[in-house]
Symmetry: C2
């Protein structure tokens, strides 16, 4: 069964939830570029690199991300704008950094569209959690070293009464996204389960020109000068990166 | 300091370790397409979709993956071919499904190139572990449901005396790659730590025309008819997929 969903002008409409990749505008997929080219409207968050918007040649661009010092849009408000634009246009792209479903709240937007009976398509992206370590030569899995890895957000919803993340992960590699603000607290928790000497690699502004790499251990990484946005990789796979960099 | 590495003809050479994405030829990055276009030689494994090789317009294609009933190349042999080709050509692409460092043994190939003093560049890809669930509308993370997820291989090196994977993962979502052969054994292990009713979604041939989706629980998924290659997603995020599919 195929539904044809029509917008308010009676035209077939579709919303693409699209991953923009980790930052480098060449690390976007062909499918994402094609969706951006086709788009009448693009709703975008704070991206690692706004240059990605160049592919949206004919689109109205609507920024829905955070803005320093200003009221920023709550998820409900973003969902409302998304639905309004979908009703008035043929092709709407909702663009998110990385992959739309890796800590991107894309699932909530998908459900909001679903509840309105709107047609949507999902276009995955290279998540920075994997793409950034890969680009610098840090394999998140490596034979004999890591057969599993866990991705986790370091920035849980502050509104939550009880924290959901317990930090008792047993995977060989742990990658923390948005992990700088609470790094001291979270590494202390991880050290209850992993050796304090476990190597850590922090990558600021991954895949970008101002990328910066800092290495250390679970015990001493918080003594280093680190600025967000940055990705935190924990585990013996960091030694592979150190080997190729003569560290 | 910049090294210029020259091949046997005195030309600058580079090896790209490239992720091909999950299968759909449009889910490859622009950077990967550009590397393939530039390539003189492409070494490739069994890919989900050979159509991706069309981007390698001018390259000699060398298959180094498994072949049914034939001796298949060991990692050392692949490393040797890679180094030999890098010595004789300007631009060599080593193409792998998904991301080169997610259970792709890319780390070993990178170290082999490093030990030979060869120049290499890493191009990440959309790993099927995330890209396939995203494409079908199954978010691996979801607010209030999953703030962490673990990727693990279901197919550990059979040569290992002691299994490294313990299956006691505490992350909210578990994604198993190459997980069908040992699914009964591995779900039994996972049920020691997670509720047998935990929902499971298996995606055969993800992002391809012959994609097939099977849902169940940790307890009953092995009773279903499942054929590799397939990805296994375990966790309450599967309910989001079920919701949009009226299951």
């Amino acid at each position: 069964m195929i539904f044809l969903i029509l917008n308010s002008s009676g035209e077939y409409m579709v919303v693409y939830l699209v991953g923009a990749g980790p930052g480098d505008p060449e690390l976007i997929t062909l499918k994402a570029v094609n969706a951006l080219k086709e788009a009448d409207v693009v709703l975008y968050d704070k991206l690692a690199n706004d240059e990605i918007l160049k592919y949206a040649e004919n689109a109205k661009l609507i920024y829905v991300g955070k803005q320093a010092g200003k009221h920023y849009k709550k998820q409900d408000e973003i969902n409302e704008i998304l639905i309004k634009e979908a009703k008035e246009n043929e092709t709407v792209v909702r663009l998110k950094g990385g992959d739309p479903f890796v800590f991107g709240r894309g699932g909530e937007e998908m459900l909001a569209l679903f509840k309105e009976g709107m047609d949507f398509k999902l276009i995955p992206g290279v998540t920075s959690a994997i793409g950034v370590p890969t680009t610098i030569g840090l394999p998140v899995t490596h034979r004999g070293v890591a057969t599993s890895f866990t991705l986790v957000t370091g920035h849980e919803d502050p509104a939550k009464k009880e924290k959901q993340v317990k930090w008792d992960f047993t995977a060989d590699t742990i990658v923390i996204l948005m992990g700088i603000g609470n790094l001291a607290e979270n590494t202390a928790e991880i050290m209850k389960h992993k050796d304090p000497d476990t190597p850590v690699c922090v990558i600021e502004n991954g895949t970008m020109e101002n990328q910066r790499i800092i290495t250390g251990t679970l015990e001493n990484i918080t003594e280093k000068n680190i600025n967000p946005p940055a990705l935190v990789v924990i585990g013996h796979v960091v030694n592979v990166f150190k080997e190729i960099n003569h560290e």
